[in-house]
């Protein structure tokens, strides 16, 4: 069984510039365990110390966010594509019209 994992630009420094990685895993949690085993630098980038996915990181199985599936327990099947994508966010001062 092979799951294709898409690695976006912000995380490629942790995957030795690999943009796609093939992983054999029954669910998303095991997939992340496998990835972190292959690429130690990914530890802490995707999940916190409690093993929860950072709120600024989105994980998709094919086109579905895992929050809409079974989260880290989402099962995977041969040919699935998983994407791990950090948020793009920012903004002005805490109060409109201010500066900070």
């Amino acid at each position: 069984m092979s799951i294709q994992v898409y690695i976006p630009t912000p995380f490629r420094r942790a995957t030795r510039n690999a943009d796609r990685v093939a992983v054999d895993a029954p669910d998303v949690r095991a997939l992340l365990d496998d990835l972190e085993g292959q690429f130690g630098a990914l530890k802490g980038l995707v999940r916190n110390e409690q093993g929860e996915v950072h709120h600024h990181v989105n994980i998709y199985v094919n086109n579905e966010a895992i929050e809409a599936l079974q989260g880290l327990d989402t099962t995977l099947k041969d040919g699935d594509e998983v994407s791990i994508i950090p948020a793009l966010a920012g903004g002005g001062p805490a109060r409109a019209g201010g500066r900070g």
Partner: protein, 153 residues
């Protein structure tokens, strides 16, 4: 070129139309020089995040942007087609076109730039008019973002 005059006009129009919410989007580029360009207007979902969880997301779209994860997935797919994120833009409402502390914080992952080769463009929108725009790039020697030249609106 960070944004062509035509692209800048489109971004300014978006920023004015979405006032008083911050607008956001990216320019995807492919090739050297970046002749194959895609200006991708993104959806700011900050208001939805704020309504759903105001503790985790205390700001609304008037003072923050958060690109719709669906747009991020599209960007990711385009990256798979050889495009790179060349420019990331957003607007500030009734304040200046500067790279805010929040912008900086969110552009970093573990202290390193998420998109070290991208240019960040910030537009200032006051009373629905774009009054200024500025660009910022990562300066590795200073380990910080620094202003760079952008054609003025």
């Amino acid at each position: 070129m960070i944004l062509t005059p035509e692209e800048l006009v489109q971004v300014q129009a978006q920023a004015a139309a979405e006032y008083p919410s911050e607008c956001c989007g990216v320019l995807l580029a492919r090739g050297e020089p970046a002749s194959d360009r895609l200006l991708m207007r993104c959806r700011n979902v900050q208001n939805e995040l704020h309504a759903k969880d105001p503790v985790r997301h205390p700001r609304d779209a008037r003072t923050a942007y958060f690109i719709d994860p669906k747009d991020l997935l599209t960007i990711g797919r385009r990256e798979g087609e050889g495009y790179r994120v060349a420019t990331i833009y957003h607007s500030h409402i009734d304040t200046g076109a500067y790279f805010s502390a929040t912008d900086r914080q969110n552009a970093l992952i573990n202290g390193e730039p998420a998109y070290p080769d991208a240019v960040y463009v910030v537009l200032s929108v006051v009373e629905r008019r774009v009054v200024d725009a500025a660009a910022f790039v990562w300066d590795p020697s200073a380990h910080d973002f620094a202003p760079t030249e952008l054609q003025k609106p």
